[in-house]
Amino acid sequence: MSSLDPYSVAVALDGAGWHPAAWRFNTVPARSYFTAGHWVDQVRQAERGLLDFVTFEDSLTLQSSNLFTADSRTDQVRGRFDAVLLAARVAPATRHIGLVPTAGVTHSEPFHLSTGLATLDHISGGRAGWKVRVSATPAEAENFGRRTVPQIDERSLQSGAAQELLAELFGEAADAVEVVRRLWDSWEDDAVIRDRSTGRYLDRGKLHPVDFQGSHFSVVGPSITPRPPQGQPLVTALAHSTIPYELAAKGADLVYVTPRDADDARAVVGAVRQAEDRVGRTGARLRIFADLVVFLEDTPERARSRKARFDGADGAELVSDAAVLTDSPTGLVRTLAGFREAGIDGFRLRPGASEADLRAIVTGLVPELQSRGLFRRSYDTGTLRSRLGLSVPANRYAA
């Protein structure tokens, strides 16, 4: 990849930002995180920055400061909307930016997921994506009461039992992605014919059963929703290790990874490419985006000092699966360039604070990239897929 290829930059939206104390430093009241207006403002701001897409986080239990179990903290943001519906609410209020909600596959119905995301694609004119999420905690399972999931923690994560559970859950996730994708293709684009001479509205030969039978569920199809404008909305997944890399390699178009630095990025990219080979991926290779938590100020010192203030308010230093960067826009551009040299295709930036850092991305980072000829100066008219260099795939069922 030439160093002058334009950068792809996405932003991950979640609550008040990715630092748990950020809500105490934003200017908006806490209630606003549960209003449509707040989310429309955030996404419009990202759209003013010409960003590729935004993601919306979600999970099937309340947030926790502990990765594996619930907590009782009352000093951090708790509560979230259903992310697909949040993205749908934002869609008519925006025009260009991609909308990528998180939706879980472990407990939800693949049929509903498929029609929900297809509808988001119709509503947004081809801007929909999906961040696939696996639910691996007993807390989430108990909300559905249909299966028992053993508790995993930091110590048991590498045990045989835990890895077996993860392999099963990610296997089911791969099935769910496959069903969702088949349902998207189950209407050919010209299935509606409105033939007055024969009285037929549909050409039933252009509607296809998906006939999926897996060990966890079976779905007959076809979908009730016509094929989305992108054919296949952009499928994405966050992955930190081999099993999720393979899920992404099997089912996704784009994977978010969490390298610590450029050297680590080289190793992660290698691991992702190996996973692609192992699962026999065909077609376009996975787009690999690095997830980075960012605190941006005019100078690195100011960024460090703001993060330190946040840490002080939370009572602990920020812990994240992704690298945490405190920098100026110029410094961040240098860091991103290093990741690009290592084979990273794009970036999903997680703003430390939803106000200060989203604003800094839009008014600081983007102009820095533009001045180096590394970022678009206006949106084209294409879909989210086309923005990422992915074509509308041929319908698997079309003759």
């Binding site: 105490r24 549960f34 949040l86 749908a88 609410r89 049929f111 029609t115 509503i123 549909l202 509607l207």
Partner: protein, 472 residues
Amino acid sequence: MTYSRRTGFPKKQVHLAAGFPGVNHWTVWSDPRSGSQTDFASFVHLAETAERGKFDFFFLAEGLRLREHLGRLHDLDVAGRPNTLTVLAALAAVTERIGLVGTLSSTFNEPYDLARQLATVDHLSDGRAGWNVVTSSDAFHGANFRRGGYLDKADRYTRAAEFVAASRRLWDSWSADALVGDQPTGAFLSDPDIGRYTFGGEHFDIAGRFTVPRSPQGHPVLVQAGDSAEGRDFAARTVDVVFSAHAELEPARSFYADVTRRVVAAGRNPDSVLVLPGAGFVLGDSTSDARDRAREVALAQVGPETARAQLEQVWGAELPDLDPDGPVPAPPTSHDTTIRLGQARHAIDPLAQARRWYDRATTEGLTVRELVIAETTRHTFVGTAAEVAGQIDHAVQTEAADGYILSGHITPTGLDEFVDTVVPELQDRGVFRTEYEGTTLRDHLGLGAPTATTLPTDRTAVSRPTVVGATA
């Protein structure tokens, strides 16, 4: 309170909802004015039109599987639906006041998922969400879902009742004052256990933390359309709006009286439940013009092949040699219920229904197509705008209905003429709002704050006080 100009007595207010034209033969796609059945722009047009007409709510049905006829996809009617909840969330962006009600299955969903989604739509619409609870449970629809057709028909209402009770438990799991958001002290929440709930019944044994703060309406408005005795009892105990299949005056009155009786027997105030039949309409410049137009619409709704397919469905048999413009054949002696799949059927005794159709055709001398037109077209209101307004007003004042869920036969412009001409007539009569007075759907329907329901089957019932002030 509005008073009748004629009698000086108070008049009941009419409630109106706009149903998006359905996936069935009532929706005429052959008309040049017919637009897309699935493009978002069509949904926007109808929702904006209904809001311009100050309707109480916009109403969406749900699709779980494409319909089949004679073992193949049914290809004569409009088909295809976007996801109900996703469309409602997006419509919240382009409307301000009108309620947004979606049909969602209590069989092929789980309470935690669906309660989150409905609470989300209620937040994103500032208190305009509603849920039409449907209980379809057959294996045909189940083939698209994780558990298949696992639910016995007899259990569908017990599951629905538990589903609603569990959803209410989830909606009540955040108190209205849970969000503190005090930045200096760092108190985001008032309660370390916020969102914690348990529900244990025959169908659901669930526990955990709910993620959505209490929504503007507390609970979205609940709607239900079941017509069986069980369905009516479930509605009487549980919901805010009954979507009735009985629009003609006399059957509507007896349905209204029956539901009222059941609501009182369930210990509820009859004013807390509205009965809204589904209805169609055809308007004209004069009475005879309206009748002529109704005739044209009926012929478009029931083409020759649709007439054949409808008779095959009621006869429970394939009728390949049938002449749609010829006489109705003798009624069947056996009935195959799998002729048409994926469509609600009301006939409890299909052979008796076929016999009744045959007798009517014989008595009135109807061809197959004429019979299907007479039996299946749903032109509840036919006349000039003033006449239709009078018919609606009369029905509402005489306890046939509290209003109607109206569907036009053209997508998406089929309601335009009604809003432009009948709504002003209703407003002149003093029976329909000229401006929205409240902001939430509960406000439009005149409903109070929601109450929790507790079921005898629930092993985890908590005597938590109902949260009040939820719409503040």
